[in-house]
């Protein structure tokens, strides 16, 4: 067999082994984070501080995006539905689209871009500037003190942000359909109320956002902690957080949707 082919196969083998090894390391790190979460849950002020950075500071992009997505849904929905004389169902279309899919997925993508990348960059830079090592030398576990509070803040923030996204989206749809176009307000809200099921639509949407919150924040803290302590290393880790999170969100969304909405409703 030509030497180049052998080297190529070896390269693929090395990459596969490295990826599996890293996945195992990430799983161990995730378990360690959960095991060391006790201290940060007892000192909830640590999580509250991080809630501000991951949650509150992400609100602007979430609210503005939610509003525009809802407005676009209202416009597009009306354009299609009015062809069938069903324009009063635009409220249902906006609400179901947002609560089931767009709310969790788009909010998660925005959360990964805004908060996930910030978490990775912050932890990565703390590593590069020896802050994590200094903490360890002070007998303070960096996983318990730095990683766990950020992880739980992300897990708590994500469903709340997605709820805000969907609420703003519904409001955007209302603005376009009712206020601008003139769809009957009573029909808009009453159809939405009768067609959106709390357990089937809203609870499933909340479950999705919780899963996305765990996935994004776990990826973000791991990439930050595992970053090479150089400028390139931190930059690469931040990019990986956004790319990996986006792919994981879309993959998980398909899997969760397949389980939750198997042709029902």
């Amino acid at each position: 067999m030509p030497r180049r082919i052998v080297i190529g196969i070896q390269g693929v083998g090395h990459r596969v082994i490295d990826s599996v090894w890293r996945l195992g390391y990430a799983a161990r790190f995730f378990t360690l984070t959960l095991l060391k979460s006790g201290a940060s849950i007892r000192r909830f002020s640590l999580i509250i501080r991080e809630l501000y950075f991951t949650g509150v500071l992400t609100m602007v992009i979430i609210l503005v995006s939610g509003l525009f997505v809802g407005m676009v849904l209202g416009l597009q929905g009306y354009e299609t539905l009015q062809k069938y004389g069903a324009e009063t169902a635009v409220g249902t279309l906006v609400a179901l689209s947002l609560v089931r899919e767009l709310g969790p997925v788009v909010a998660a993508l925005l959360f990964a871009s805004r908060a996930g990348s910030a978490i990775t960059a912050e932890i990565g830079l703390m590593k590069a500037t020896e802050q994590l090592e200094a903490m360890g030398m002070m007998a303070v576990d960096p996983v318990a003190r730095v990683v766990a509070p950020r992880f739980w803040a992300g897990v708590i923030s994500m469903p709340l942000l997605a709820a805000m996204f969907s609420t703003m989206g519904v409001f955007g749809g209302y603005l376009v359909a009712v206020v601008l176009i003139g769809v009957d307000e009573g029909s808009f809200w009453s159809q939405m109320q009768s067609m959106v099921d709390f357990r089937f639509d809203i609870v499933n949407g909340i479950i999705k956002t919780c899963v996305f919150g765990v996935a994004i924040t776990a990826i973000a803290v791991f990439e930050g902690y595992d970053a090479q302590p150089t400028a390139e290393g931190v930059s690469g880790a931040t990019t990986r957080t956004v790319v990996t999170s986006a792919l994981v969100i879309l993959g998980l969304d398909f899997v969760l949707t397949a389980f939750m909405f198997r042709g029902v409703g």
């Binding site: 802050q131 200094a134 030398m137 007998a139």
Partner: protein, 270 residues
């Protein structure tokens, strides 16, 4: 060096993968003294500090701190030991999201149940000892390199440790800051009765403040003695190092093929 030793290093070997960094190191560091570990960049000085602090495990041999073999301690025991020791990193490693005050208060809040009023007084006392009480409200980004190093020093003495390790405390400082840091290390070591280990290649400043010096070259101790003995040393390495000479046992060139080979001159001549 007759005082009871705080740090004892015995037949210590350490390798990264296959590359030997430290080879058969033996050291004794008595309590209450300032000890310098010198050597050219990359000779394993910082690795030695990391071994003393338990951040890495030796390939063979051992490091004893306060009569405990560091690498044999459980994680909890190691953390208990680390509460009595401290490390000042090369560029301070201050927590950039915390103010100067909160940086110094960090360990007190993590490891003690002291009331906030007592912590406030203690932090101001520590900052006063390094001359930066007035900077307690600043953020690390607002500090000069010398100030950051002094704040890091105040943070490292927050819990009155028995041992402080300084990793290149003089690197990148102007002459005034350099003298200030040097004097603070000496003064605080004496005032707090602690032991200080300095890893440095700043010969002139460190020889003014230390009690004993170890020289490391290529992973082994090549010389050791008091500052006076070191200045008079006949060892070619120590002489080159102390007198900052270009020529000597430490080569200028990194190991490589011959110059002619690299430039393909041999083949063209042939």
């Amino acid at each position: 060096m007759t005082t009871k030793a705080l740090v004892e290093i015995k037949d210590l070997n350490f390798s990264y993968d296959e590359r030997a960094i430290l080879k058969g190191i033996n050291m004794t560091m008595p309590r209450g003294k300032v000890i310098a570990i010198m050597g050219s960049s990359g000779c394993g000085k910082t690795t030695l500090l990391r071994l003393i602090g338990g951040a890495v495990t030796p390939s063979s041999g051992h490091v004893k701190v306060d009569s405990q073999v560091v690498h044999e301690l459980s994680r909890n025991e190691l953390f208990l030991l680390r509460r009595k020791m401290s490390m000042l990193f090369q560029f301070g490693a201050l927590f950039t999201d915390l103010s100067v005050f909160d940086n110094v208060a960090f360990q007190m809040r993590e490891h003690t149940n002291l009331p906030e009023s007592v912590i406030r007084d203690l932090v101001l006392m520590k900052l006063h000892s390094v001359g930066l009480r007035g900077a307690h409200n600043l953020m690390p980004a607002e500090l000069s390199g010398g100030m950051a190093r002094r704040i890091a020093l105040a943070r490292s003495i927050a819990l009155d440790p028995m041992l402080i390790m300084f990793d290149e405390p003089f690197a990148g400082l102007d002459p005034i800051s350099l003298s200030v840091i040097g004097n603070l290390i000496r003064r605080l070591t004496e005032a707090l009765g602690m032991t200080s280990i300095l890893v440095t290649h700043d010969v002139h400043e460190s020889l003014k403040i230390v009690d004993y010096v170890y020289f490391i070259s290529e992973g082994v101790i090549t010389a050791h003695g008091t500052p006076a003995e070191v200045r008079e040393s006949a060892s070619p390495f120590v002489h080159q190092f102390v007198h900052s000479e270009v020529n000597g046992p430490v080569p200028f060139h990194y190991p490589a093929e011959t110059y002619a080979t690299d430039l393909n001159l041999e083949s063209s001549v042939a």
